[in-house]
């Protein structure tokens, strides 16, 4: 069962999804449920012998289009609501071994087109306020299936971190009259932390990086969402995403695990002038054999302690790309 329970201490919803405990765990490659279904073999999620890009509803969703009633009664202190929404899985390729770094660039461009289509279609649902596109890559971030894939959560509320970014943007705009992300991108382009850029997008380790080798990839022009990008900008975004992935893979000599998240305009009605499309990458490796854990200070106080200078992190990623 799943439901949303209100946390009045942090002013945010918590999703309980107990059925997800039953997920299968790290199946062998020959039983990958995300590969195409071979003739006579066990049926995977995809009932075809080949595919290019596939999207399907998650079998273990945290949010459902028609959710059951909550298991518990809400109160004034503890409101409860059904976990209504959509959870999708995006299969990047039928090739079990490929990552974004390995795929042909044209395939990543098509993946961007699919993400754009999903953002628009899911965002048109009246119950959806935020379409959150993300990828968890590698066992270090808890992945249980190695086939290249990402996920989409279409939320019935604006999640806390995007909401906080939007609120920061609103305050900045009231104070300065400008977009916060536009100012951040402008500042980063003049500094030493840029790892990749072209005419449309720039990737940089932000001044305030929290995760080791954290990278933000942002539109240089003010674009609220994937739906606002031109064809050239979508191709640039694909190139930027792949460049970050390639730069990561050169850091320690293995395919670097990371979380990749997209922040963009909510899809609830009205305008969102402070939404500025960008992608954030959060690796967890601070060295080849050491992980960054979100321990007491990060989890309990909310302050990240970083072991690496953002400028040094940027130089390491940039030099990997320059050597390619």
């Amino acid at each position: 069962m799943s439901e949303m329970r209100w946390n009045p201490l942090l002013n945010q919803w918590v999703v309980t999804a107990t059925h997800r405990q039953d997920r299968t765990y790290k199946p062998p490659k020959e039983y990958c449920p995300l590969c195409p279904t071979a003739p006579g073999a066990f049926p995977t999620e995809v009932p075809a012998e080949e595919y290019e890009i596939v999207v399907f509803e998650n079998r273990f969703p945290s949010f459902r289009p028609d959710p059951p009633a909550p298991d518990v009664e809400g109160t004034e202190l503890y409101p409860v609501r059904p976990a209504q929404g959509v959870c999708e899985v995006v299969l990047y390729s039928q090739d079990h071994e490929k990552t974004i770094a390995d795929l042909p660039l044209v395939h990543v461009e098509r993946l961007v087109d699919v993400w754009t289509d999903r953002y628009i279609e899911l965002g048109e649902r009246p119950e959806i306020e935020y379409v959150f596109i993300f990828e968890n890559k590698g066992e270090a971030v808890g992945v249980t299936l190695h086939h290249p894939h990402g996920q989409i959560y279409a939320f019935p509320t604006i999640p806390p971190i995007p909401a906080r970014e939007l609120e920061s943007g609103r305050a900045h705009r009231e104070r300065t009259g400008r977009c916060l992300m536009c100012d951040i991108v402008g500042a980063e382009l003049e500094g030493p932390r840029v790892v990749w850029e072209d005419d449309h997008f720039a990737a940089y380790v932000p001044f305030f990086a929290r995760y080791p080798y954290e990278v933000h990839l942002a539109s240089k022009k003010h674009r609220a969402s994937l739906a606002d990008l031109s064809e050239k900008e979508r191709k640039s975004l694909a190139k930027g995403i792949q460049s970050v992935a390639i730069g990561y893979d050169g850091l320690f000599g293995f395919s670097l695990p990371y979380m990749m998240v997209m922040h963009q305009s909510p899809t609830i009605g009205g305008t969102h002038p402070d939404a500025h499309y960008h992608v954030e990458f959060y690796p967890l490796h601070r060295s080849a054999d050491k992980l960054k854990y979100l321990a007491g200070v990060e989890s309990g106080a909310g302050n990240f302690i970083t072991d690496l200078q953002p400028e040094e992190q940027a130089e390491a990623i940039r030099s990997n790309l320059e050597s390619k």
Binding site: T44, P47, A48, V54
Partner: protein
């Protein structure tokens, strides 16, 4: 970009996106919708639904 949606036996939907190659034939069931070659979002899931076999994932 081609886009075709089917309905799995457990009620979930699945969408094939095609670019270089035609949308593949299903191993069970048939598509009942016409392929969307516009790249625009489709609307109305029910008109594009068809049983399409079973499958399991753990994402």
């Amino acid at each position: 970009m081609q886009k075709r949606k089917v309905k799995k036996e457990d009620g979930r939907y699945l969408i094939f996106y095609g670019f270089d190659r035609p949308i593949p034939q299903l191993q069970s069931g048939e598509f009942i919708d016409e392929a969307d070659e516009t790249g625009e979002t489709s609307s109305g899931l029910k008109s594009q639904e068809e049983d399409a076999g079973e499958g399991q994932s753990d994402v």
